[in-house]
């Protein structure tokens, strides 16, 4: 994360650049594609694509605009600004203090991935495995991977295994949801 955030395309953090790039490229694609559709079917998405294009372009290049334009783009008209005048500042301070106090109590071991990176990767892995072998079997594997990664006790591991199997099983049983088989079952002729 720290290595990535050192690069700042257009003066933005890489994460924000990716986010705005997604907005921009999606709206540009929809704008061009909308001309393939006649009348109102194409017009409605075109209007919104233009609006998103303008907004995301302004946000992407905001650091390279004149100061007055930057101020205009980054100004908020937030009703909650008013609540700051009536005590939110005090609460924010109080919350920050509470968080700092909690953070002091942390004694986390060093891991190759941050918690956020691990959960994101685990979710991607879970979805992929669900597609391959079926959600009913992938869910407890996800629970097990989570427990092992964080070095949880065997009691916790057993509980989380049971719960992460019981949830999809309940859906399978009640809604007859087809989550028992995956792509691999189909390919191997086991479905």
């Amino acid at each position: 994360m720290s290595v990535i955030s050192q690069s700042r395309p257009l003066g933005l953090d890489i994460g924000e650049f990716v986010l705005l790039g997604t907005f921009w490229s999606f709206s540009a694609g929809i704008f061009i594609w909308s001309f393939s559709y006649p009348g109102f079917t194409g017009m409605f998405p075109r209007i919104f694509a233009v609006a998103v294009l303008i907004g995301s372009t302004l946000l992407l290049v905001r650091n390279h605009l004149p100061e007055f334009a930057q101020k205009l783009i980054t100004t908020s008209s937030n009703i909650q600004d008013l609540s700051e005048e009536v005590g939110e500042g005090e609460v924010a301070e109080s919350l920050e203090k509470a968080e700092e106090e909690t953070e002091f109590k942390l004694d986390e071991p060093d891991r190759p991935l941050s918690d956020t990176e691990f959960v994101s990767a685990a979710v991607v892995g879970y979805f992929t495995l669900s597609y391959l072998v079926g959600m009913l079997w992938a869910s407890p594997v996800f629970g097990l991977a989570y427990a092992i990664w964080y070095g949880k006790s065997w009691q916790y591991t057993v509980i989380i295994l049971i719960v992460t199997f019981a949830i999809p099983y309940a859906f399978y049983d009640v809604l007859n949801l087809q989550i028992v088989d995956g792509y691999l079952h189909e390919q191997l002729g086991l479905a």
Partner: protein, 505 residues
């Protein structure tokens, strides 16, 4: 005038074994998800939404609205006991609630919170019940152009008002929400768009999958970065009866705060996170000078004000959803998702042929507030600390699995799982860089309403845009919405001008 027949019919409908358990279950889930920091009503409602598929429309929406209401109260439990509000709705509660715990009076503070929440919520729900005929008579004045204007302004207002630092960010996020929903079959014309020939995309993206992705998966990625909870021992003490007495003595603050919450709740983008501060500030402002210093140090009236207002917000925030299908907050966006998922169309129908549904929903909330009172006084003071300690290592895997299987249950379409992942990551990035997630979700939920009503309006006017300004109702909407959007800016400008002129003097 209120229709007593319809009210009695609704009351008879909800006091049955088919409905009553859903109120109790919803309130219990709401209190629990509200009490655990990091979950809250929106996440709770989002993961429950796909589970409601086998239920009837009334059961499902009563369950959802009960979670919404229960979580408003539930969020005060961790604010009072741990000094960490379950949601932003109870941020002002901790100012005086936690000092009471530090003084060894947690039961007293929790009793004030339960009675203020239940009574503040109950009174505003009764007011909403009385307002239904008025709302109904306003709704019939609205045609396609007015509904389009309200939906459009709803998205813009949320983008502007709930924007975190930049209105361009808020508005862009809201409009992007509309844009993503243009994939698939057009609701206004017989055309299929942007599918690339894929049958999986024929019905477009599912807004429920977007909701779950943004509020459940995105929130879990965010929660992962938060520190694990502490195990501070909470000293048990304080009198529940004294807490009830304190709320009763401060009935003016309680009623006023409830209505402050109700009014702010009806404004898109404001919601309970703002209302509890406004009500708290009003309580401080109207207190005698010698008492003002005690606020923030354990003044029970501070708890009364904050808690009555956040539960009052529920009644207010239901008004634009029921009347126009315009959600003003993330929780009401999920509720609207519940309406649409079960084929319930907000607007005139809810004041005419489906009037008993509307009254049932409101009366369920009223009963739910009685449940808050009972549970809040008899159970929460004894087990509240245990609820708030539910660890993120349990929450994350369970919520991810529930959200994923729930999203797949919507249509058994793998596009929904991809949607979950993409929008989960987008929500995480939006949170990191202060983009309004609520604006985007509301844009996605309102896209269908916008497109249908724009198409109808243009068909009525032969393509002329003048239809949006050629009648008094449309002009009134434009004026009110514009004033609401610019009022915070004008107030800030007026305050700074007054301050600088005072300095000069």
């Amino acid at each position: 005038m209120i229709e007593p027949g319809a009210v009695l019919e609704a009351l008879a409908a909800i006091m049955t074994p088919e409905i009553l358990p859903w109120i109790i279950l919803g309130m219990a889930i709401g209190i629990m998800v509200g009490a655990v920091p990091g979950i809250g009503s929106v996440l709770g409602m989002s993961i429950v939404l796909p589970l409601t598929i086998p239920l009837s429309g009334l059961q499902a929406n009563i369950l959802l609205v009960s979670i919404f209401s229960g979580a408003m109260y539930g969020s005060s439990i961790s604010a009072i006991l741990l000094r960490v509000p379950g949601t932003a709705a109870a941020a002002a509660t901790l100012l005086d609630g936690h000092p009471l715990t530090e003084k060894g009076l947690p039961k007293y503070a929790l009793a004030i919170s339960a009675t203020s929440s239940a009574l503040g919520g109950g009174i505003t729900i009764l007011a909403l019940l009385l307002l239904i005929p008025v709302l109904g008579s306003i709704v019939v004045l609205f045609g396609a152009p007015q509904i389009f204007l309200i939906a459009m302004f709803g998205i813009l207002m949320i983008g502007v008002i709930a924007s975190q630092g930049s209105f361009v960010k808020g508005v862009t996020a809201g409009l992007f929400g509309v844009l993503i929903m243009t994939i698939g079959i057009s609701p206004a014309s017989p055309g299929v768009r942007f599918t690339g020939g894929s049958l999986l995309l024929f019905d477009g993206l599912d807004y429920v999958a977007i909701l779950i992705g943004m509020f459940a998966i995105g929130e879990m990625i965010r929660l992962a970065a938060k520190p694990r909870g502490d195990n501070t021992t909470i000293v048990d003490g304080g009198s529940i009866v004294s807490g009830i007495g304190t709320t009763a003595r401060n009935y003016v603050t309680m009623i006023k705060s409830g209505f402050i919450g109700m009014i702010i709740g009806a404004i898109p983008g404001a919601g309970s996170s703002a209302s509890n501060f406004f009500a708290y500030a009003e309580a401080v402002r109207t207190a005698p000078l010698e008492e003002q210093e005690s606020y923030g140090k354990g003044n029970p009236r501070g708890v009364v004000a904050a808690e009555a207002s956040n539960n009052g917000t529920v009644a207010g925030s239901l008004m634009p959803v029921i009347a126009f299908g315009i959600p003003g907050s993330a929780a009401t966006a999920v509720l609207l998702g519940g309406f649409l998922l079960h084929g319930i169309t907000p607007g005139p129908e809810l004041f005419d042929e489906n009037l008993s549904f509307t009254y049932s929903l409101i009366l369920a909330l009223l009963i739910g507030n009685i449940f808050i009172l009972i549970v809040g006084l008899s159970i929460v003071p004894y087990v509240g600390a245990a609820i708030t300690r539910l660890d993120k290592d349990f929450i994350i895997p369970v919520v991810v699995v529930l959200a994923t299987v729930g999203a797949f249950a919507l249509r058994a379409n793998w596009v929904d799982i991809v949607t979950l992942l993409i929008f989960g990551l987008i929500a995480y990035l939006m949170y990191q860089y202060d983009y309004s997630i609520i604006a985007m979700v509301i844009g996605a939920v309102l896209a269908n309403i916008l497109e249908t009503n724009l198409q109808r309006s243009l068909a009525l006017s032969d393509g002329s845009l003048l239809i949006f300004i050629d009648d008094p109702v449309s002009v009134t909407i434009i004026v009110i919405m514009t004033l609401l959007m610019i009022s915070p800016k004008l107030t800030a400008w007026y305050n700074s001008r007054t301050a600088s002129s005072n300095e000069l003097e």
